[in-house]
């Protein structure tokens, strides 16, 4: 009998700790599938963030380093400079990457560090129970914006891909979504390309994945996917921002 679907080798056989309907798990799986398909598990080193995915080092079969909040790009820089022949990726949430770690991501990108960042934009702080993130939408209710995000008080949602793609060292920047099967497949394609860009030594690559946090959005998993489609996608334009035609 032909096996048509199975757990990717790069993902350990271990139940994920994420809430039901959380899309962190989908993205983990996609990263693992890409690692399998590229045959790079033995030469890949991942960097875990601070956020709900803080312990994703327990799920990936490759070598892993846990970093302080927001510092993953600097940690990955240190690793990659020691092992330029390895594939190094960071996996970061929007609080981690776009608030406390803004300096680290911008400068790692600008230096053109040959690393790949998987950026999970779920418009909220998941782990610490639903506070406003830099990516929280206008009007969005969070535990620290109980009356909705008001730009005059809280500033505007940050568009990371638009910002990063202005930097010389960033060569592949794409925003994708995991709201349905079609988009999930597209996300995998983008992640694969981002890794390939790194392996070809081109420079820094980032994939922003629009994701859900049903728990802190106060929605069930299906409603959350719909909310992502209806509210996040209009503001966070999907598509490639840089490096679409890079030969890898």
């Amino acid at each position: 009998m032909a096996i048509v679907f199975q757990r990717p080798h790069a993902l350990k056989e271990k139940p994920l700790h994420y809430c039901p309907g959380c899309t962190h798990g989908i993205v983990h799986r996609l990263v693992a599938e890409v690692i399998d398909e590229l045959g790079i598990e033995g030469i890949t080193i991942g960097v875990s963030p601070v956020g709900c995915a803080y312990n994703n080092y327990e799920y990936f079969e490759c070598d892993m380093v846990q970093a302080a909040h927001g510092r993953a790009p600097a940690v990955a820089t240190g690793i990659k400079r020691v092992h330029p022949d390895k594939v190094v990726f960071t996996y970061q949430g929007d609080g981690d990457l776009a608030a406390i770690g803004t300096a680290e991501i911008i400068h790692a990108a600008n230096r053109g560090e040959k690393i790949t960042t998987i950026f999970i934009n779920n418009a909220i702080y998941g782990m610490t129970s639903g506070q406003m993130a830099p990516t929280t939408l206008e009007g969005q209710v969070t535990t620290t914006t109980p009356f909705g995000r008001k730009p005059e008080l809280h500033g505007y949602p940050v568009r990371v891909c638009e910002m990063i793609s202005t930097l010389g060292g960033a060569v592949f920047v794409e925003r994708v979504s995991v709201c349905d099967i079609k988009n999930i497949n597209n996300t995998k394609r983008a992640i694969k390309k981002a890794f390939q860009v790194q392996m070809a030594g081109k420079g820094f690559s980032l994939v922003e994945v629009l994701s859900t946090c049903p728990t802190n959005w106060g929605l069930d998993p299906v409603e959350a996917l719909q909310w992502l489609k209806d509210n996040m996608e209009p503001f966070y334009r999907l598509g490639n921002f840089k490096g679409k035609d890079l030969e890898v």
């Binding site: 598990e41 030469i43 080193i45 240190g78 020691v82």
Partner: protein
């Protein structure tokens, strides 16, 4: 011994690191230690080293964390305000048990303070600085020759115990020139780095470098392991210089460049019939407690002289444990105590103790 050169302290640190096999340096400019970075920027390209001028000290120490996790000999250097920013990273390095060398050419604070010499970071270096229960080995050289030797040794100690080692000097040490005699070959200890992230090559279980343990029992185990390691370091790695202590009336404690001033004062006091000894901790942690205990019953008293408002004096008092009075004399703000000031203090203590 080999080549003898006249060199500036900061350059000696960089040269010593290179000789110790350090090929990764991450830093952010700050006076009075930037020459370390300049030297490395110039030398590294020809020896295959990697230097990054980071966007901040926070980033620099996290690059150190990454490179150390990847198994490399790695160093960063800074001065007080920058070292404050590195405290987060130092705590993580301690929790993840990574070897790293950190140089602090201390300047005076608090705040932006000034760029002149100070020892005001003693507490920060030996009592923690970052969060949680952890220690760093802290080395305090007082001459350029010693700066060289301790810098090389710092890398060995870091690897031996998977611990951060800080070399703490002040602006005087960093900026002054003295002759240094380099060894022809350094003793570079081989360390087992099978724990490092190097890629599994599909040949072993994955390695994980982390400092987070949500299960309290597991985290207590880590803490117990760290503490056991610290006790071993306290037994094995104490370095101290004693000078003129046997038969002394008064014992002065001083570290780094201040100890050099004190040595001159000892000669001046001798002429007046006051016998003064010096205990110079070379490792600020582990502190040479036993040496202080040995001399705790010195006839008169102890005096700690420091470039701060009274920091190491607390450890001296703990070591002496009430057996004798422990006095303090210090200057702050970049002011350096003169020989006369210290001698006056010694005279006063001597008179009062009679």
């Amino acid at each position: 011994m080999g080549e003898k050169l006249l060199m500036k302290g900061n350059e000696v640190i960089a040269e010593a690191a290179i000789r110790a096999g350090c090929r990764y340096y991450f830093g952010y400019p700050i006076t009075p230690q930037t020459e370390i970075m300049h030297y490395i920027a110039k030398k590294f390209p020809s020896i295959g080293g990697t230097f990054i001028q980071a966007e901040s000290e926070v980033a620099a120490i996290n690059m150190v964390y990454g490179a150390a996790a990847a198994g490399a000999r790695v160093m960063t250097s800074s001065s007080s305000p920058g070292i404050s920013l590195k405290q987060e990273g130092l705590s993580y390095i301690a929790g993840a048990e990574l070897p790293a060398v950190i140089v602090n050419i201390v300047r005076c604070g608090p705040g932006l303070g000034g760029i002149l010499p100070s020892q005001g970071d003693y507490f920060q270096a030996v009592k923690g600085g970052g969060h949680g229960d952890y220690k760093m080995v802290v080395l305090a050289p007082s001459s350029i020759q010693e700066l060289y030797e301790l810098t090389v040794e710092a890398f060995n100690i870091a690897d031996r115990y998977r611990i951060a080692v800080m070399i703490m000097g002040d602006g005087t040490l960093g900026q002054m020139m003295e002759t240094v005699e380099f060894r022809d070959r350094e003793e570079i200890e081989e360390a087992d780095k099978s724990w490092a992230v190097t890629g599994t090559r599909m040949e072993r279980e994955h390695n994980v470098i982390t400092s987070i343990y949500i299960d309290p029992e597991v985290l207590e185990d880590l803490n117990n392991r760290l503490q056991a390691k610290y006790r071993i370091i306290e037994q094995r790695e104490v370095r101290v210089e004693t000078y003129n202590c046997d038969g002394a009336d008064i014992i002065v404690s001083a570290f780094g460049t201040v100890a050099r001033i004190v040595k001159n004062v000892i000669r001046m006091a001798e002429k007046e019939g006051i016998r003064v000894g010096l205990i110079r901790p070379i490792t600020l942690w582990p502190f040479p407690t036993e040496t202080f205990r040995k001399y705790a019953e010195v006839p008169a008293a102890f005096l700690s002289v420091e470039l701060n408002a009274g920091q190491m004096v607390e450890d001296v008092r703990l070591a002496v444990n009430g057996k004798r009075e422990v006095y303090f004399y210090g200057r702050t703000g970049g002011m350096i105590p003169t020989q006369k000031e210290i001698l006056d203090k010694i005279r006063e203590i001597y008179k009062n103790s009679r």
